[in-house]
Symmetry: C2
Subunit: 650 residues, 2 copies
């Protein structure tokens, strides 16, 4: 297009740039899209849901920035209400309903009903409890939340203060909040919505404290939604960064609330009519079920990263800025090494994390199947792999969302860009489901234990412990996926060995995060290298992305790898980036996001970014005439008049 020598107007040039970049795609995106979504059927299901959901007037994505918190909450409830109707109309399963809600790309008031309340009851309730409560939960005849965290206690579940004291006289538990800090806090969906909760409370039997247990507690009337006696409930207030606006995270206090003995979730531990405690058969079994959300989180991170990087790469493809070249045009900003070096590794992460998410999902399922037969043999491996990946994926996704947003310059700071929203919503993922710094310690402890026990697995076992003992000095210029992965296993083995030699972590206070990262990097590298060897859909471009991930991971580990030739490594990174660049648009198109899903003025499929920004800005409610006049009369006029008088006095 530029070949006529006459530069197009910038907005036309933008469309032309996007079309040209897309036309350079060298691979078939269909199999890649299927791989990203799981398989062809999963993709079809997703696309079908998007078609249905995007036509629902209640899902007003571009309207979100103009809604107050009240309105966001009300809209969230309206969406859930409508989608429940759609569930019945379309005969969706529970899982399909969840996916449909996910497709709206926002965190809804009672999202924890399906992701925490329901799974906990299904996994920890007795058969009788599930029979009694299950149908109402499925049908949403009751709406639940998961009430564990307290004002004073999050990470430290053992220290929860809420008590559940058995009263043998009435065959009831008495739930009580003895202190201010025992107030349940941060409970999603509690503030205004939930009719029921699963409550973690300290079980007291005959004066003895038996640690936290789970109780099924009604909070609000099913007649008129009024708060039941003895409960004090409220919303904990707005969240940082304008995030999670639609959610009514709540607080909850109990003033000697009585519930039937039956309401203690009792698949594992039980209390008899006489007030005797019946131990769970396998303590670990309780724990296994709790890992479900961590396995899910990896998938969510992939889709958030996918959205952010699609937006950013598209915008940087049409944005031109800098010294005009021979073609009479400023360069596309994606063409600057300092830009593509920021963006392509994020794209690579999204792809590699997809492989991780699918791998861990399968591992989790295998473990669950064994656990159901009372076999906990896979638990240690899966527990640590999930912990390491919870930390690594949530941390790198957050970093990637941030870098992708910043790469868009000023326009990236507009709410209309969409990148800020993705970043804000993902921000607490490094904190909930196990604070990352706390999980680091678990990963390090397991790694050091393995090291000290002399565990040695085949290096290519795909275990999170595969690095143990891989202490042979690495080559100076690793290039193949296999060698890069081995370099990262060496590095993990080495930093774990060094850590094990410390007297304590005060000697190296940053060590835990670094060691956990090394273990996680080695695990990801093993899976990535294996996937490369097995072959990936899309051929070369996808292979290069995986290789770029391995190369940049080794680059990030250079401080631990003094023998590696950094200059050669970086030249390989440069070459990999240059090879991937022409396919960057194709590789983001492969995610298959519609403009509706992205809801971004900068990420529009056709590259017409300037038109999209203009349209959103000129439609903005803030541009209405009347409120403006009000403020002028109230304040601006006074400022100007005061100024005029002052000037006149001079």
């Amino acid at each position: 297009m530029a070949s006529t020598g006459v530069p197009l107007e910038a907005r036309a040039q933008a469309r032309a740039d996007m079309a040209r970049a897309r036309s350079r795609t060298s691979f078939d995106i269909v199999p890649v899209r299927h791989w990203l979504h799981g398989d062809a059927e999963a993709w079809e299901n997703h696309a079908q849901l998007v078609r249905i959901v995007s036509h629902e007037a209640v899902v007003n994505l571009p309207g979100r920035p103009f809604m107050s918190r009240e309105e966001r909450y009300a809209n969230g409830q309206a969406i859930i209400n409508r989608f429940n109707e759609l569930r019945i109309q379309n005969q969706w399963s529970d899982e399909q309903l969840e996916r449909a809600l996910l497709v709206t790309g926002q965190i809804l008031p009672s999202s924890l009903h399906a992701t925490a309340f329901q799974p906990v009851i299904l996994r920890q309730g007795s058969d009788e409890q599930i029979r009694l409560w299950g149908p109402a939960i499925s049908a949403r005849a009751i709406i639940g939340c998961y009430a564990q965290t307290e004002l004073g206690h999050g990470t430290d579940v053992a220290a929860l203060e809420t008590t559940a004291t058995f009263d043998p006289k009435t065959d009831e538990f008495v739930l009580h909040s003895p202190t201010l800090t025992s107030t349940k806090w941060w409970i999603g969906g509690l503030g205004r919505t939930a009719t029921h909760a699963v409550v973690q409370a300290q079980l007291h039997l005959q004066g003895k404290a038996l640690g936290p247990h789970l109780f099924f507690v009604q909070l609000r009337s099913l007649e008129d939604h009024s708060t039941l006696p003895g409960r004090t409930i409220g919303d904990i207030g707005p969240k940082a960064l304008g995030a999670h606006q639609a959610v009514d995270h709540g607080f909850l206090r109990f003033d000697s609330v009585r519930i039937p003995r039956f309401n203690m979730l009792s698949k594992f531990a039980k209390v008899t009519r006489e007030g005797q405690y019946v131990q769970p058969p396998h303590a670990k079994l309780v724990y296994g079920g709790m890992l479900y959300i961590r396995a899910q989180m990896n998938h969510h991170a992939v889709w958030l990263l996918g959205k952010a990087i699609t937006i950013s790469i598209r915008y940087c493809t049409i944005r031109r800025q800098g010294k005009v070249g021979a073609d009479g045009l400023a360069p596309q900003v994606i063409s600057y090494p300092s830009t593509y070096y920021r963006l392509l590794p994020i794209l690579a992460n999204a792809y590699v994390f997809n492989a991780i998410a699918h791998h861990l999902h399968a591992e989790y399922e295998a473990m669950s199947a064994l656990l159901a037969r009372g076999d906990a043999s896979l638990l240690p491996e899966v527990h640590i792999a999930l912990a390491a990946m919870k930390v690594l994926v949530s941390t790198d996704a957050l970093a990637g969302l941030d870098i992708a947003r910043r790469a868009m310059g000023g326009h990236g700071f507009s709410e209309f860009a969409g990148g800020g929203r993705l970043l804000a919503d993902h921000t607490p993922a490094v904190t909930y489901e196990g604070d990352n710094y706390v999980l680091d310690k678990q990963v390090v402890r397991a790694a050091v234990k393995g090291h000290q026990m002399g565990v040695q697995l085949p290096a290519e076992s795909l275990s999170v412990f595969a690095f143990l003992g891989q202490l042979a000095a690495p080559m100076s210029a690793p290039v193949s996926a296999r060698d890069l992965a081995q370099t990262l296993r060496y590095r993990a083995a080495n930093v774990v060995k060094n850590f094990a030699q410390l007297k304590d972590s005060t000697q190296d206070p940053g060590a835990e995060a670094r060691v956990s990262r090394a273990v996680g990097d080695a695990y990801v590298a093993g899976i990535a290298a294996n996937a490369l060897e097995q072959g990936l859909p899309g051929g070369e471009p996808v292979h290069r992305l995986f290789l770029l991930h391995l190369l940049t991971t080794v680059e990030s580990a250079l401080a631990d790898l003094p023998n590696v030739d950094s200059r050669a490594l970086r030249a390989h990174i440069g070459a990999a980036c240059a090879d991937i660049l022409p396919d960057a648009i194709g590789l983001t198109d492969a995610f298959g996001f519609t403009d509706w899903e992205l809801d971004s003025a900068l990420g529009v499929y056709d590259g017409a970014v300037y038109d999209a920004l203009w349209e959103r800005a000129s439609k903005s409610g803030f541009n209405a005439a009347s409120p403006h006049e009000k403020e002028y009369k109230a304040h601006i006029m006074a400022i100007l008049e005061r100024g005029r008088k002052e000037v006149a006095r001079l």
Copy 2:
């Protein structure tokens, strides 16, 4: 307190922990406070302003999270209006007014009146122009904005499309926006407020384009604030992360708007009555004035970091979580190495950046004084030092704000914590006043040029180029400030040398940011080491903070320093942290923030965090009864009823 053996209730324990931590302060905070503020007088002025301003009802800091964007904007105007009144009452100078507005800790609708509009006119206007417009600007009889960026052009000022064509017939310039992408965009205070703008536009004289020049343009009527003919003005919409809500960033299009020839800012370039262009005597002089905001930004970053780290260290001092120890209490989370390793380096950065800000401020003043005499000899040094520090300080401040917020776990994600607000407001600082990645290239270019010219300065010269030629291999275990700084100069010299040997940056696409960082680190280290040798107020604790900064900077550079013994270095970091820890509260108290200024439930001076969170949450407007019922009736009731019917059908 804990010595009785009976643990206090957590909320009482929190106060006791704070009092105890404060009582352990080993140094006199008064001189440190003066140093942080500049001197005793600056501190007194600040404290006095806080006393006045905090009693103004219009400044409702805790109310902000509950205001809509409309309300935030209106409140911002009300603040400016009231403060203008206070200015007259208290006979504040322009600068005192600015400081008073700063003390409110928020970005106000027309903050660019004083930080861009006014300085640009004062620096680039002719004497006659300043005489004519200056008093009205000072008195705010007119309100201005700075309109440079366009929808299609930010970084690339040379490519701006707005034209200013001289019409010799009428002795006027005609301002015009020829395309959609030429629309002025992102202009702070323009959307609803400004009566005037300084506009960057391409000067066209007799058919010749002479590049961007500045024009003084009225936008709105001073009678009734209506938009003048030929201007199309609006607000560009909300910003990401809920940030800068009070600001009406605007767009502006010109449809052949005529302004008198007099309105081209003409201290430097001029256009004669005949339409002849008179060249500026020194092109560089124009540029010098533009560096003012960059020099200011370092100070702002220090105060933002100071607030964030005060909040975070205070909260982590009273927050207890984890295995109960011999004293019957869970550990304070600040006592975990993985926590203090995250927080103390941020505290160190705030202190060291304060030294940088004061140093650069003095350099800037010296340069300005010379420039005023037509001497541009200091410009290259100060320009590159300011560019390197714009990048380094804004980047590290943003990272520090993020780490400090995350360190507070779940409660850190509450808007009431305050950390999110600081982070969100600082976010665009890495983009405006020169996108950091673009500035990196300027720093690298200057460094490589110096290297190629064989420039060599005394290593301890405090110049941003002091590292050049410092290629003697570093010692393996640097410990003193002097040696640590020399290590960082060696590293800068080395990475610049390596970069200069590359064919081009595609061979190492991440190099520019890395090289710029190395140059910046060396510069900061030189100033920090020099300050340490000169002696700092507060004695040992402050010295240790500076040392910790140097140690952790070398740690972050280990990939470039394969000879440095990382284990020894980290042991020093551990020891420095352990030494600083007992003074952490004192070192944050030294900033002198009042609870009003911090506006944070987690950062309260007395440690009564849980009471503060409870109070803010229970007062939250979202807990009012009536809207809740509305949503229940509109949606929740329908969801539950549908569910009940479904269960009944089973």
